[in-house]
């Protein structure tokens, strides 16, 4: 099977973000970066499918040069090769534009399955995978928790997570796009051998300008401002040393809230 995982690099989830000078995003200068959670699960799933059916796993990323570090991690986990569409200036901003660029690269060769995350951990659009499917004219399934591929029949069964604890299997002809939900399986660690091998694997860099993609026709949605939510009901923050806050808390739970 020819498998491809879209991998997005995002700012470290545990960082305390600061708003950038323009007020339209976060400061990225002092941050470390990692693979968006769903994408790590999606890569794991690609690797499992390759183990079962043979074939190859490619990674596709749109991002600045620093994204190479996350791609290397994916290669160390076991992906065969990678494509990085370089957008060092952050020109591609909306999910629609991202999907358009990714689609342009994906038109170059046919993959049996294209996997994306359900939702990215930074801008959290929950759009890119489905946009991509439609731009490529492929069928799709979202929020997928299990995959059973049948390469001989060119079919794939995907288990979709639904609301309130329901699940549904659907069957799609391949090629298809699946958006993967966190928790689909357990993510493997890169082995030392994997890390060594990854150094020799190819990351093909593609310049945005080398792609024949016209972003002027993409519907524009502008981010005017990014800010910390203003809250109406804020918690009473307990102050003091560990011993003090703990004492206050127990006191309040007993006497004020009367819950213990």
């Amino acid at each position: 099977m020819k498998l491809l995982t879209c991998l997005k690099q995002i700012p470290d989830r545990d960082t305390r973000y600061e708003i950038n000078a323009a007020g339209t995003g976060i400061k990225t200068s002092d941050l470390t970066f990692e693979i968006s959670e769903c994408d790590e699960y999606s890569l794991e799933e690609s690797l499992k499918l390759r183990e079962e059916h043979g074939g190859e796993v490619a990674i596709l990323t749109l991002g600045p040069q620093r994204a190479e570090k996350s791609i290397r991690k994916g290669l160390a986990m076991g992906a065969d090769r990678a494509i990085l569409v370089r957008d060092d200036e952050g020109k591609v901003t909306t999910p629609h534009a991202v999907a358009k660029v990714l689609a342009e690269v994906l038109k170059e060769e046919e993959y049996d399955l294209i996997l994306t995350g359900t939702q990215s951990d930074d801008w959290s659009y929950a759009q890119t995978g489905v946009l991509l499917a439609e731009l490529l004219g492929l069928p799709h399934a979202t929020i997928v928790m299990e995959i059973r591929a049948d390469p001989a029949q060119k079919k794939v069964k995907a288990l979709r997570e639904m609301e309130s604890g329901w699940f549904q299997w659907v069957e799609l002809p391949m090629p298809a796009v699946l958006t993967i939900q966190a928790g689909i399986s357990q993510i493997r660690y890169a082995s030392l051998k994997g890390i060594m091998q990854a150094k020799k694997k190819e990351i093909r860099n593609v310049e945005l300008s080398d792609l024949n993609v016209d972003l002027s026709s993409v519907p524009e949605v502008e981010v005017l401002k990014v800010y910390f939510p203003v809250v109406e009901k804020k918690a009473e923050i307990l102050q003091g040393s560990t011993a003090e806050v703990v004492e206050q808390l127990v006191e309040k739970l007993k006497k004020e809230a009367k819950v213990i």
Partner: protein, 325 residues
Amino acid sequence: MSEKIYVLIDHGEGEIRTPSLESLALGQRMAEETGFSLHALILGNEIGPLAERLGKQKVDSVLLVEDQKLANYDPDVYCRALSEILTEDQPYLFLMGHIYQNIDLAPKLAAAINRGLVTDCIGYRKEGDDFVFVRQMFRNKLNADVQFRSEHPWIVTLQTGATSVDELKEGSGQVVERSLDLSAVELRRKPLEAFEATQGKVDLSQAELIVAVGRGIKKAENLKIIEELAEALGAEIAASRPVVDSEWLSRDRQIGSSGQTVSPRLYLACGISGAIQHIVGMKNAQCIVAINTDPNAPIFNIATYGIVGDLFEIVPALTKKLKEA
């Protein structure tokens, strides 16, 4: 562009789904502010009674599209139907709930008609003649104000709870049947078996006291301090999704939109950021305590008491204090 607001009405098992009624309530407010007309759009098969019910709300009309092919949701046929209607009618705005079905559908529609889509909105503001939409990102840590710079219709999905169905106003709107020729649409996705996740052993819905743990615990071995706290309190243990995804705790302890909904007397959240999908499962707790190193963690927005600090210090100290008492 016309001065119309359309709202997509989702339904299942003969009932209109609550997120759609929330969208309709928001649509009503927007229509009042702008003087635009408001139209509920419902797709399905043999859903006349639902359309009638919608007609009792304050709407200018109910657009009813019935076709056997629309009996169950399918992305190809739903997208085609909506594309045709939106292209022909050119409403100003197309609203729908940010539910799983629309996560599957809305981006496909946006790509099919090449229109802008803003997902998971929690509200809007009117600025002059323009609408500014507010959405959350970075796991609810940050908000963004966004504005469409594209042609209408603008497609917007609304977060559950962004508005309340209590706001919904009654009125009378005519049901207008619309027929579409969907015979040529090929349904590529075949629905197979659907099932409800097997009920786990743990039912937390009746629990009075819950100690909940999130990704802040970092690894399974660290859960011991949470277990000790739960024991000192006589509480049940629950978790956010990543803890369960990592298999540190079983799936039946997950709280949230894809887990259990609880309403204990006390919900003590340790190292949980407070993403919306978690909040919906525990916001009705009588008293919420949050322990988190990040003072901006959204969990503090709904907590009764907060401790900004390291759970690895606070939790053992709290256990000790409770044992002394």
